[in-house]
Symmetry: C2
Subunit: 191 residues, 2 copies
């Protein structure tokens, strides 16, 4: 089912207010106790507006996550100049968040499976040029598999895809798993 | 939410009858028109039995898929002795099935996000020793990244994960995409 886009055109200020209310309430009560009624009251809009634009809380939470409004800063890719180390630190953080916020992460994946826009947004936000594949482009020459002409878009998809599959399996993962995944996909550091 | 396993112990003959009925009806009417009532009638069981064991049609269809009862044979990995070519043919088939059976594939991913047993089963069945990672083990030495000591479990997860991410994005993919993914993750063929 597509995210509803028919009906009245979305008002951007109302959309922002709703996303901010969702993020604030999420931090206060968690995903399970988040309600459309509570979000509507906090944002000062009618709950029908939220139902009309998002349908349910899953896609709404997904949109917050994709815009970086949840877990603020915790999922940012560090930039120390050492892309391999930055990726390892980032993957370790992602694995930790997957375990601590398992319901949120899995509900995002479920929302992506059910809503095309969430699915496309998830892939774009995770693998887009501003993100992982862009950083891999900047790291050409630093690992065995990151050589000139390397297919960094595909490498980014493979890394992120492995993370999604790991989330679906509910198996805890840590720094050693991050290193193994990077060793497998990017190869050993050179020089 | 876990798949319901409380209540009466499952009867294996009844389970098989229900899975066979699900697969047969799926082939006749498709996922959208599949109903618990129809499956129960075909299998000769009460619909409460199905609700008690699976909860809804998503996990039931997922179990059929994981046991190879849907799309029979279409997703088998060919074995010509050339693992790289076999993987390319298999990925191309998977991409085609993802497009032709998009709702089924996405409902499997959603079921995996919602039910831990489906999630673990999906990962195990796709990356287990009898499957992709086992074939990669047998292909050590044939591509640039498949060298002795290669982390074939992680490479299998990266390949399958990229496929899952592609399914979530709903972007059509073909043979050229399969080749690019394999080039990125496994490296160029050697010798």
């Amino acid at each position: 089912m597509a995210l509803p886009r028919t009906g009245p055109v979305r008002s951007e200020p109302a959309r922002i207010a709703i996303l901010e209310a969702t993020a604030a309430l999420f931090a206060e009560v968690g995903y399970d106790h988040l309600t459309i009624e509570g979000i509507a009251a906090r944002a000062g809009v009618g709950k029908q507006t939220i139902y009309r634009w998002w349908g349910s809380k899953g896609p709404l939470v997904a949109e917050c996550l994709l815009e970086g409004r949840l877990l603020p800063g915790r999922l940012a890719l560090p930039d120390t100049g050492d892309v391999r180390a930055d990726m390892a630190a980032w993957l370790t953080t992602v694995f930790r968040v997957m375990e601590a916020e398992q319901r949120l992460v899995l509900s995002l994946i479920a929302a992506a499976a059910e809503h095309p826009e969430v699915g496309a947004g998830l892939r774009d936000s995770l693998t887009g040029s501003a993100s992982i594949s862009g950083r891999l482009d900047a790291a050409i020459g630093t690992t065995a598999n990151l050589q000139p002409g390397a297919l960094t878009g595909e490498l980014a998809e493979a890394l992120i895809g492995a993370v999604v599959l790991r989330a679906l399996s509910r198996e805890p993962a840590g720094p050693a798993d991050a290193e193994r995944l990077l060793d497998a996909v990017l190869g050993a550091p050179t020089g």
